[in-house]
């Protein structure tokens, strides 16, 4: 596909994704934070369903050698980097998707978060080097280099090539695991609903409204437009 075609496909995909995320109030940050902090799973369930569909779709096409997989070596830098990212997204109240979506709703906090994400990226670019970790590209040759904290490159395609078992089989196993988590959440929600009915509590402390659950920046998103003045 030509670069223009790629950019156009990306823009169209982004536009639909942005619209759907805006209309559904989906938030990746909330999918993790609300499950941990408030025991509410609205976003977590959506995330799991999406991952189930993607796992089946991606591994099915990988089985027949189709699709553009992400191609780079991985290592401890993924764990540490996403650890920092995880703290950051909860503090900022938005992840990479919701910063763009909330910015599109007129949220100045989201625009501020985006600005500082860019600044953070630039600051890190100043300490990046080809030769030393993190992460050292000189040790990235698709093989594990434990001394460089790099584990090489592995995905459903390499699993298929090494074992001779079709990638979709591994995909089905992952689908099953994700589905088990999804079902466990549904059961937990049922139990919580039953407990609420039994105690007949007027408003459960563990399940606040979205507006209460949202952090600083996101809180206003769910406020009524009248409040904005």
């Amino acid at each position: 596909m030509s670069p223009v075609g790629q950019c156009l496909a990306a823009f169209l995909f982004g536009s639909v994704a942005g619209l759907l995320v805006q209309r559904s109030r989906f938030c990746n940050t909330a999918a993790l934070r609300d499950a941990m902090l408030f025991r509410t799973y609205r976003n977590t369930k959506a995330l799991l369903v999406c991952m189930m569909i993607l796992t089946l779709g991606f591994t099915a096409f990988i089985t027949v050698g189709e699709g553009h997989t992400m191609h780079f070596d991985v290592g401890i830098n993924q764990v540490l980097g996403l650890f920092l990212f995880g703290i950051g997204m909860v503090l900022a109240g938005a992840c990479t998707v919701s910063t763009w979506v909330k910015a599109g709703e007129g949220n100045v906090g989201a625009i501020w978060a985006l600005l500082f994400t860019f600044i953070g990226m630039f600051l890190f670019s100043l300490v990046w080097s080809f030769d030393y970790w993190p992460p050292a590209p000189s040790s990235m040759d698709h093989l594990p280099h434990l001394e460089a904290l790099q584990f090489g490159y592995a995905n459903a395609a390499t699993l298929q090539a090494k074992t001779g078992i079709p990638a979709i089989v591994f995909g089905l196993v992952q689908f099953g695991l994700l589905f088990a988590i999804y079902r466990a959440i549904l059961r937990k929600e049922e139990r919580m609903a039953q407990a609420r009915e039994q105690t007949a509590a007027p408003a459960p402390v563990t399940a606040p409204s979205t507006a209460q659950a949202e952090p600083a920046m996101a809180r206003d998103v769910d406020a009524t437009p009248e409040r904005a003045g």
Binding site: C7, L19, A46, L80, L82, F83, A103, A228
Partner: protein, 163 residues
């Protein structure tokens, strides 16, 4: 139009996005945001620093500023789609954080997200909507990191909320 009158079920929204993401995976690559944001950072830095920027190895070797990088347009598309959604559903209005603590949390959070993405070479979108469904080892490493980070972040956030 019903879509702009009430909130859409996120499971429906994310299922549609999943199908479209599979199309993206086939034609160019799975949904990602961090790469596009990095390229935007490079383009902004080049605007201010000019050719001096190529003296920083990262911008010379890994991300040479290039406006035709497709991942940029996913982010711009999301912004556009969100504006359209917000305007048509009459949900667009300027929201400004009111307290200093909110500004501080957003600033620190933004910085940590930027540094984290570049350290990992991965963002949350690639983690959940790209790498893990491809069963890439990096997806599992990233998920363990982001869950631990979100847990620590939630503890900090809770403490700040409780004052």
């Amino acid at each position: 139009m019903e879509l702009f009158k009430k909130t859409l079920d996120p499971i429906v929204a994310l299922s549609i996005i999943a199908v479209l993401d599979i199309f993206m995976f086939l034609v160019v690559g799975a949904w990602t945001v961090g790469g596009g944001e990095t390229m935007m950072t490079g383009l902004i830095a080049k605007f201010f620093l000019g050719d001096q920027l190529s003296r920083i190895p990262f911008w010379d070797i890994v991300f040479k500023p290039d406006a035709s990088y497709w991942k940029i347009y996913i982010s711009l598309g999301m912004l556009f789609g969100a504006i359209v959604g917000a305007v048509l559903s009459k949900e667009f209005y300027w929201r400004v954080p009111r307290h200093l603590s909110e500004w501080v949390m957003i600033t620190v959070g933004g910085l940590l997200m930027g540094i984290g993405i570049r350290l990992a070479f991965v963002c949350n979108v690639s983690t959940f909507f790209g790498l893990t469904p491809e069963m890439n080892l990096g997806g599992y490493l990233s998920i363990s990191g982001i869950i631990a980070g979100a847990w620590v972040g939630s503890l900090i956030y809770k403490r700040v909320l409780e004052g």
